[in-house]
């Protein structure tokens, strides 16, 4: 490499390096140092892993994490289950204008903020809300029905919020699936299910995996949806981190929780990749 192209290489790399260093690495190093500070008294700190120990010793905290992880996995699978037919329809059964229109329709909810979207669901689900009134009007319910403030409401909100992030990678991979492969499958005597299992899903696997990773991470890191839709049963790990930082002024524990979230969620993604026999590199390459 000549000196000149070396210079170009480093100049092009510089924004990425600066971004990584100042916005990702430095804050994390700072957070990590904070998480190692044990508070022993007013303005008195020692270095140690006591904050991490708190997480494992207090069932409340790891139960909350387990619940958050389990709900996020459920939301991811549900999003995949609903998103896959949608993506398949958009990618394979529509052409031209209607394809663009459908794709845009998936995008539209994201033109408003997450807060507004969540409030929308509250208006629909609440006791005096649209669904409750509709059920009473049709005669399916005798009195007001409360559909808000439970796990199902959280799940609905999470799936709704995540749908786009599942549909986009799926549409992209399914778009690249040659129609003639599906026809060849039929021609060779396969049933629709066999084609889905042997041809469509293996082809879409990178899209499925990247969609699942994004949706899982988004659900795990979601804060507004569980708080607003879950009401009194809204326990969510990010909410716990928020309250440590903001209402308890306990940055040390909050930072430790933050790192535990990072580590444990990475572990879950890693296990998921192993189970689906995919690699991160393969997923990103598509």
């Amino acid at each position: 490499m000549s000196d000149r192209s070396k210079l170009t290489f480093w100049l092009l790399l510089a924004p990425l390096l600066i971004w990584l260093l100042t916005l990702i690495i430095l804050p994390h190093v700072g957070m990590f140092l904070v998480s190692l500070r044990e508070k022993v008294g007013v303005r008195e700190y020692e270095t140690g892993f006591a904050n991490y120990a708190v997480f494992f010793n207090e069932p409340l905290y790891w139960n909350t994490f387990a619940r958050t992880a389990y709900m996020s996995i459920a939301a991811t699978l549900l999003t995949l289950l609903i998103g896959f037919p949608i993506a398949y329809y958009i990618a394979k059964l529509t052409r031209g204008r209607s394809k663009t229109t459908l794709f845009l329709m998936c995008l539209i909810p994201f033109w408003v903020s997450e807060l507004v979207r969540t409030f929308g669901w509250m208006i629909l689900l609440r006791e005096t809300g649209v669904f409750s009134n509709l059920l009473q009007y049709v005669g399916l319910a005798s009195g007001p029905v409360e559909m808000l403030y439970n796990d199902a409401a959280i799940m609905t909100g999470l799936v709704y919020t995540s749908m786009l992030f599942m549909v986009v990678p799926l549409v992209t991979t399914l778009d690249s699936l040659d129609d003639s492969l599906i026809e060849a499958g039929y021609d060779l005597g396969a049933s629709g299910f066999a084609i889905l299992r042997e041809i469509v899903i293996p082809h879409a696997m990178p899209g499925i995996v990247s969609g699942c990773i994004v949706v899982f991470m988004l659900s795990l890191g979601n804060y507004l949806t569980p708080i607003l839709l879950g009401g009194k049963d809204s326990l969510w790990f990010t909410g716990l981190i928020y309250s440590q930082f903001i209402t308890r002024f306990n940055w040390e524990l909050g930072s430790a929780f933050g790192f535990l979230l990072l580590g444990l969620s990475s572990l879950i993604v890693f296990v998921g990749l192993k189970l689906s026999r995919q690699s991160l590199g393969k997923t990103m390459a598509q």
Binding site: E183, L188, A190
Partner: protein
């Protein structure tokens, strides 16, 4: 069972909105025939093939395989298999799994599948590759795997959708011969669609020339070449000089015509359907034209003239001359005989030419076509 054709189409049609892609096509293909459907792109041949495979439903008409209507049979149950234009090998499976795919769907047990797959791969000359990924194959090998994948199911009819289109020229020439050999080896009925006349002419037992949704002519390669029924077939199959002219006189099956350039040509009116004043299309094959440095050699032919060499298109055995008629200025393509006689021919040389009356194919022009 030779009386029952493997495949029979009866008045089959397919309409899209107000466009008729296939219009009342009827034909039958006897067992073991290599049947080609030849036509330009957009002629409806792909639609026809997809109807046979079951991917599209005919608007009207009936489709029989081994004498039984298959209109209500979905594509995954039809006893036909298809080799796709881009082969459609499954990239997510290895070669063995690709070939064994159809057997797996039938619920054949694993050991039998492995055996049958290996046998069919050997038949196409690819023994021992079952464990390799599809991407490790060359274009021609992929072709053979695609055929093996269909043949292992022993279909009544194998459909091929321009499978040679993606190959380079040299390989394509080679595969033509190989396909024909495979077909006779398996003794399976092949229905092959293509827009490439040389593919059709070389491989086929029967060729249907298709244009604008209808079959213009069905016949052997020779019939199509020497006795085209319609102006379209004459123009599409093989090369030809094309003239438009008006009938000036007609006597005893022989017609005299004048081209728009003022050249007078003579031909045969085989059907005796032409009358004076009709507009006609005239086709003359380049190899039907005889060249000579002596006027006497060609004088006895029905059509004669003197031309100046405008260009020599040298292509070995397929070399051509472009002559400009001395009197009218009309251009004429002539095959250059490779006997050595004309090796020293150069541009601007003047030479005599002529062809027999019966080599002039005459057809009523499109606009005035009557039922012939």
């Amino acid at each position: 069972m030779s009386e029952t054709p493997d495949l029979e189409c009866r008045d089959i049609s397919k309409s899209f909105d107000d466009f008729k892609a296939v219009n009342d096509v009827s034909f039958s293909v006897p067992q073991g025939t290599f049947f080609s459907i030849l036509g330009p792109s957009g002629c409806g041949k792909t639609t026809l093939l997809r109807m046979i495979a079951g991917f599209q439903e005919p608007s009207s008409g009936d489709l029989l395989i081994k004498g039984k209507s298959v209109l209500d049979v979905p594509p995954n149950k039809r006893p036909v298999s298809m080799v796709f234009q881009h082969l459609a090998l499954f990239p997510m499976m290895n070669i063995g799994a690709n070939v064994g795919f159809g057997l797996r769907q039938r619920g054949v047990n694993k050991t039998d599948i492995t055996k049958q797959v290996e046998r069919v791969l050997e038949r196409v000359g690819l023994g021992g590759v079952a464990e390799r990924p599809v991407s490790s194959l060359s274009g021609g090998q992929k072709q053979r795997v695609a055929i093996a994948r269909c043949m292992v199911l022993e279909p009544d009819v194998l459909l091929l959708d321009e499978p040679l289109g993606a190959l380079d020229l040299k390989l394509r020439e080679h595969m033509k011969i190989e396909l024909k050999q495979l077909q006779s080896e398996f003794n399976t009925t092949f229905v092959y669609i293509t827009h490439d006349q040389s593919e059709a002419l070389v491989m086929s037992d029967q060729i249907a020339v298709m244009n604008q949704g209808v079959f213009e002519q069905v016949g052997t390669a020779k019939e199509l070449y020497y006795e085209p029924d319609t102006a379209f077939v004459a123009g599409f199959v093989g090369e030809a000089n094309r003239f438009t002219a008006k009938v000036k006189g007609s006597a005893g099956g022989s017609v005299e015509m004048v081209t728009s350039d003022g050249q007078t040509l003579h031909g045969l009116d085989a059907r005796r359907s032409l009358s004076v004043g009709d507009s006609v299309d005239i086709f003359v094959r380049p190899e039907a034209v005889r060249l000579s440095r002596n006027q006497a050699d060609v004088a006895a032919m029905g059509n004669t003239g003197q031309g100046k060499v405008a260009n020599i298109l040298f292509n070995g055995a397929n070399s051509q001359l472009i002559l400009r008629d001395q009197t009218t200025g009309a251009e004429l393509n002539v095959a250059l005989p490779q006997t050595g006689e004309f090796r020293d021919l150069a541009r601007d040389d003047v030479i005599h030419f002529g062809w027999e009356q019966q080599q002039t194919r005459v057809y009523l022009a499109d606009g005035e076509q009557t039922d012939v």
